[in-house]
Amino acid sequence: MTVHADPKGVLTGTHFIDGDHACCEGALAAGARFASGYPITPSTEVVERFAARIPSVGGVFIQMEDELAASIALQGAVWGGAKAFTVTSGPGFSLMMEHIGYALMTETPCVFVDVQRGGPSTGLPTMPAQGDMMQCRWGSHGDYEVIALAPNSPQECFDLTIRAFNLAEKYRLPVMFMMDECVGHMTEKVVIPPADQIEITPRRLTKQAPDEFLGYKADEDLVPDIAKAGDGYRFHVTGLTHNEKGYPSMTVKTQDKLIHRLQDKILQNADDISINEEVDLDAADVVVVAYGITSRVAMKAIQMVRDSGQKLGNRKLRIGMFRLITPWPFPDKKIRALAGRIRGFVVPELNLGQMSREVERASGGLAKTIAVTHAGGTVHSPEEIAEAILEAAR
């Protein structure tokens, strides 16, 4: 079920703004009226814009005392009924891990934006990297599945932020919005449509009476409906392992049932959740798998190889691109299917090999995977990627 966006938050028109600003506009269009943040480069512009915009839209921005506070204050606002998000980068993202776990366990719909910079530790505050891709998947303790989106342009920072909020509501979890410094600070044309052309997934508020309501009894899609504070439901929320009523129940049986449901609600709905860009995959010999800013460098590399007239036997080498718009849940089935009919994957990324491991795992040995690694600080040169494409074709 969807509704149209509330026009109050939609800045309809054609803009020339960077990815950070576009992300903020996406959040406002999606209905976010609460943000809690803590300053950190290169993500701060998102909340700076939110702080400037929200008083005339209607809502609250609060700069908290640290990222732990920022990442839990928004969850208080969500349980009060707001749509809410927080924004950070590397070191702040590390501090937020416990509260990503809390949101996963309590099924709190919200969005965490991470504008990735070079790490570990303070690393490269003003320079790009894509080194948090595994952290957003595995960074909190325990077993779980997440949803992560990776935009590669300011326009996508707008469009996919709305998608992130919609998925958060539909599946009741924190959605990881994985930008990088380049996409965050890149200025391009961003078209914001009228509010009645923006689809919003409303909160799945329970229709049951308070005395019948079970806060963690899932529907057929494995997602439970939610109540908000102040409506007489007198519900309980805990990060402890809990039963369908939301009460702590620390037994092997409850743990098994709950943790499997949290996993399955994502895996069983992966086809609905996952969108990715597929370019020239039919009959491809080599497929480049990339995301974020690196996908744009990769497109340049593919063009270079095509222009050079490289041949495979007596025909032109065919190169495709699989762009991960939804790195998590990872598109296992699609990568596996491709692996069975191509020579190899090339995976450039601004880290020492994170999503490339997933490509290698999902391909199950049916095709080789060449990781084009980079410690971050700038983007790849297209030549590096082009060279790997030729190697994969051999």
Binding site: P55, S56, Q75, G76
Partner: protein, 290 residues
Amino acid sequence: MSELVSLHENPTEQFLRTDRMPHIWCPGCGIGTTVNCFTRALLDSNANLDKVSVVSGIGCSGRVAGYLNLDSFHTTHGRAIPFATGLKLARPDLDVVVYSGDGDLFAIGGNHFIHAARRNVDIKVICVNNLVYAMTGGQTAPTTPGDALTSTSPYGTFEPSFNLPQLAEAAGAVYVARWTTYHVRQLAKSMFEMFNKKGFAFIEVLSPCPTLYQRRNKMGDGMETLRQYKELSKRKDGASTSEVGLTRDGEIVVGKFVDRDRPDYATLMKAHYQHTMGDKYVETGAIICQ
């Protein structure tokens, strides 16, 4: 055979999740006593219970939220206050109470406490101070006074401890009081007063942990601790908070130390935006999404 005598229901029972009883607290523990006082204050305040939310952190006192028949949130260790801050700012129509322990609120959560007090967020903070980390087995807390034995200070503690009322006042709380679990009527009255106070209000309740503090320090059982509270307590309303620090066996100053007014966060925010933005400012009450 005589007829069964029908007993009146305990008037505070409506506030409890009776389907969660028995609770986890030890015999002689004071947390349940504080909950009883809290329910009494709720009863006296005629509050709309559908509009009261309780937020707890982690620890023995962190379990309070789970036993109260209200909208209740058992959050992460130390972070009840920032959760409550988000809830209150999104829902100014709710009464938001933070109910937690001394380790949770003043060690791992200490930074959040002082910042929420500085901002004067309109939340009510009740700290059950049992002087140790009890849930994890009796380790040293930032409140453990003087030379006391704990599981992580087997030769006794030597770190100076926090004087919680002084910390709260210095950080900006508008209401600061301290009681012990012996002072049930005074505590209930104080909690009632706190509900009617706009801004960041704080009550410290000294409470026995017979299992992990009193026993290890050969201070007797829960009953014996209440006797000590009675003997050692001295009520000094309006006392300078710099003079109410706790020692291991010394005087326990109780009473209401601070009761002052200054505008709370939401009031300041609205006034400021109205002043700087004029008609462009869109004032919001409850922030509730589609």
